[in-house]
Structure formats: C-alpha cells, structure tokens
Symmetry: C2
Subunit: 322 residues, 2 copies
C-alpha cells in the first residue's frame, strides 16, 4: 500500500494501473481516502450512446485532439458484463491502441458489474485516481445498455450523448432517459445522407423537454476522419464554463458525491438485507417480511409509506477543488 | 378497505382495479397481507423483448388462445416512464381492446417506476392480486428497456423472450442478460424471410450458454395471424411441468419472494440512506461517508469488503400454493 502510494505520487503509470485494480477488487477504500484530498481538478466527461454509434472512434479522436492541445487524458471504458461483448471490447482497444505508448494518456477498460456500487463504485474510484494522478480530463465511455449510461450523468461533469444517422432507430425508440441526460448531443458519421434529418429530429425532441439552465448543444462529427472534434471540445468547454459560472458545478459534484456514497452504502446494505431475508421465519407475507427487515436495520416500519421518504434534504458533504 | 376486500372477494373487477391502484400508490401493504394466503395458484408468465417485436400482439393472441381453452387471464403491461412512450402505450391498448368486455380477462397498464421497489413492487402486488382474484394465468409484459426485462425473470414462473427477424439488430447486439433469462424464445413474425436465420442464430448462441436443468425451447409465431400461439402455450406448459417435477418451482418462488422483500426493504432504506447522506458533516471522502452511513444502520464498516457480504444463505421464508 505505501509502496503503491509512493509509485502513484511519483507519477508511475504502473502504480495508477495497480491502484485501479485494487479498487476493482473492492479493496480500494484506504487508497481513495489517501488520494481524495488531491481530487477535484480534472474535468470529467461522460460519453454514451447506443451500440455501433462509434463511441470508441469518437473517444480516440477526442484523445488525439486533447493531446495536440497539450492536455493529459484518462480514459475509462465501461464494458457490459455480458459474455457476448468481448468482440466489441477488442475493437475498442484496437481503436485506442495508437495512444498506448503516450505517457499523457492512460486507458482502462472496466467491467460494469461485479463490484459493489456498480458504475458509481469502481468507475468513480478510477476517475478519482486518474484525477489525483494529474490527468486534465477524465473521459468515461459507457456502452448504451443497461443502467450505466444513465448513471454516467450522475458522476460526470459533462455528459455527451452520441447518436448516428440512419441506424434504423429513430430518436423516438431510444432508451428511456438517454435524451434527458445529454449536455452535448453528438451526431457522429455526419457524412451520412440522413445526418441532417437526425439533427432535426434531435432539435424537435429538445423542444419537448423543458430545459432549465443549460440548453444542450448539438455537434456534428465524423470521428473516423477527426472532423468536428474541435467543435465538440469547444462545446464541452462552454458547458464547463457554464457549470462554473452558474454555480451548477458545485451542485452537480455534491450530487455526484452523494450518489457515490449512497451506492457504496446500499451495495453493502443489499448484501446484509439479502442475508437477513434468508433468515426470516416461514409464513410471512412480503410486506410483513420487509417490515421485519427494516426493524432489523433500525428503520420504522411506517417508513414504507412513500410520504416518509425524504429523497431531497440539504447536502453538507464536502465538495472539492472548486 | 373492508368494502374493497368484500368487493374483491365477490369477484368484482372494479374492486380488483381499485386494489391495484391502491398498491400503485404505495398504500397496498394491508391489502396484500389480507389476500396473500390465497395466492400461489396462478401460473405467472413474463414476456419481454426489444421494442417493435410485437409483444402486445403476442399478448393479445395468447389471451385469445387461453380464453378458447377456458382459462382466465390477467395481463399486466409494464410501460417505461419515459415521456416518449405514450404512442406505443396507446397502440398496446388498442391491440388488447377486443378483450376489454370479457370478464375472464383483466388488463392493466402500469408505470415501471415511481413506486418503491420498481417492477418487483407494484407489479408483483398486481400479480398477487390477480392470482388471489382467481386468474389462472397472469401474463406480465415488459418493454425491453431498462432493468425491468431482467427483473421479470426474478418474479415470473416462466419467462418468454420475443425476438423478431430482420430487425437490423443481430442477436449479438441484444441487451446484455436478455438471452440468459429466456425459458422460451419466441421468434415472432415467422413469415419474414430472415426468420430461419434468426432461429439459427439463437440456437448457436444457446450453445455458448451453459444451461443447467431446463434448456430453453424455441417457438416460431406469427402473432398477428394467431399462428404458432398454440405451440407457444404448449411450450409454456412443458416448462411449468418441468418446474413442478424438478422442484425448481419451489426454489424459484422462494427466490421471487426474497427478491420482492429485498426490493421493498431496499426501497425504503434507499430513501433513508439518501436523507442520512444529506446530513453528513463536510470533509469526508466517499468511503468514510459510506462507513458513517453503515454505522448509522447498525452495519459494521468492515462489511464493505466483498468477502463479508453473504448473497446466498438458506431461505426459510414461506412458499405458497405448491
């Protein structure tokens, strides 16, 4: 642990890699506690979208652009845990391979499950580590399946939602919630004949959403040729400036912190609840059983009534580096 | 409440409808406790698959077939909470409308969110109510977005996964986990030229999965014409017979009960954790904050180590009607 921290502080990429592995295996608490005071400087950018949209190519193009600007970048690629995703994973790695020997870039693939706390667990740990390690930008790429692409918006400062024209899927059939989380829409493969139509569809969808504060930008890219990636970075910077100036960044990082703590605590509570449920006597109905579980954790049974749940509240927890 | 129960016991569909509404608004605990002793007789069938596959048409065809066999059916249609889904919802209702005046059929649309416990909350309550009301089969239809189509397998006796040929999505890009939950695969729109290819794809995917016990059946249907629906029902019955004879039904219903209790308890705990996180003092790192939350709920901080979580354990809780 001390040796690992020493290597980490000396800026050794191998120490960063080992630190992330430690967090992935659920033994990262002490490490995160040690490095946490140095986090909060990096800009974290989430990138999500349906499969096949070219997220990895977009990541690679964004990394290349940031390197030309002299910025260091950490990339976290969150893979679904399905046994059928290994082909896609390999493809991602190949596209990012040109950056493997650049010390200003650190790339890490992570499974989206298996660790308590899901994306907000090990992924947030990895993002904290890259941040403390000194990366200017931490890019978190999630495939658009499952819960992870919604959760990304909870932990990243800026969320990019990438879509592609002519994919057969119109904007209407997109996964519920994915449009709502976009700070910047990216229409990739902008050379496609349907690209303008997709942009129109997104704009008319945006009119149906009642945006408060930031109104998402829409950027067209052709990531494979690097086209539009400079505009995308400018849009990210504009969103970052808006976050800081409006005070939304403080609020967003508070919420991200609370989300992360909640997921960590609930991950453990889930296991404990499961074990306790297994020990309940026979003959209970589900509500009586749930009430018994809640009494065990010192929560009043009456709390099952929705009115007694306080999802809001004032958060006084720490917000870093703002 | 007493009046509602009296109406319910007298077999009044309006009382069933009101009972489900009560559960949807989170006030169903007493009701479920009262009717729970009469549950466990219905066969519960989950139906899921990607959008556009024809799940509602398939539901309607299955309902028509069951009515011809003299069986009563409750249908629960779980809709995503996205504001963009109302069009599809209306379509579903129209397809099922021919059964609206049949007293042997009870159809209910439910939102997939909003109530503590998600699908396993209000949906499981509605299924219990339909079961106690005397429906022979409870069909739970979920759209293939979000977490709900995986959760359906946790609460239904038999899970159908519907796929359609030539949808552009090959089996490879299906949402992670959806293939693993199928007890019966349904290739709908079997008149499509690509139907045989899809069946081959499913079979070769199945070879990659290491099935223990039941090996999923594959049925081709053309729901709009009613073709193949008899074969589908026979496959469901074969799975039901296997569940009973192998002892898997007892195990499955135990697990469903535990899942439901867990979701109910965690739904409340989540709100409590959220409120407590909001009250934490400033300056904590995420792990220190999570440990403080866990101490508050009487759980040892050391429990955050994965080794201390017991996800298995022996379940002694009640299993009904077997």
């Amino acid at each position: 642990m001390d040796e690992l921290l020493a290597g980490f502080e000396a800026g050794e990429p191998r120490a960063l890699a080992r630190a992330i592995s430690r967090c992935e295996s659920g033994r990262g608490a002490d490490l995160i506690r040690a490095i946490y005071p140095r986090t909060g400087r990096a800009l974290s950018v989430g990138l999500t979208g349906p499969p096949g949209v070219g997220k990895s190519t977009l990541s690679a193009a964004l990394v290349a652009h940031l390197r030309r600007l002299g910025k260091t970048v950490g990339v976290i690629s969150v893979d679904p845990s399905s046994p059928f995703s290994h082909g896609a994973l390999l493809g991602d790695r190949i596209r990012l391979a040109e950056h493997f020997t650049d010390p200003g870039v650190f790339i890490r693939s992570m499974a989206s499950r298996g660790h308590l706390g899901g994306v907000a667990g090990a992924t947030a740990d990895a993002a904290s580590l890259m941040d403390a390690f000194g990366m200017d930008v931490v890019l978190i790429e999630t495939v658009g399946v499952g819960q992870s692409e919604i959760e990304i918006a909870e932990i990243a400062d800026t969320t990019l939602v990438a879509l592609q024209p002519g994919s057969g899927d119109s904007v209407q059939v997109l996964k519920a919630g994915i449009l709502e989380i976009a700070d910047v829409f990216v229409v990739n493969k902008s050379d496609h004949p349907m690209a303008l139509q997709l942009q129109r569809e997104i704009r008319s969808m945006m009119e149906m959403l009642n945006y408060q504060g930031w109104i998402p930008e829409l950027v067209a890219t052709q990531a494979i040729a690097g086209t539009g990636v400079d505009k995308l970075w400018e849009a990210i910077l504009r969103h970052g400036a808006w976050l800081r100036e409006s005070g939304a960044l403080v609020e967003k990082r508070r919420a991200a912190f609370a989300h992360r703590v909640r997921q960590l605590a609930l991950g453990t509570l889930e296991g404990q609840v499961e074990a306790y449920v297994a020990s309940l006597p026979a003959g209970l109905d589900p509500y009586a059983a749930a009430a018994a579980v809640l009494r065990h954790f010192g929560v009043d049974e009456g709390a099952t009534a929705p009115g007694n749940v306080r999802p809001g509240g004032t958060l006084r927890a720490t917000v870093k580096g703002l």
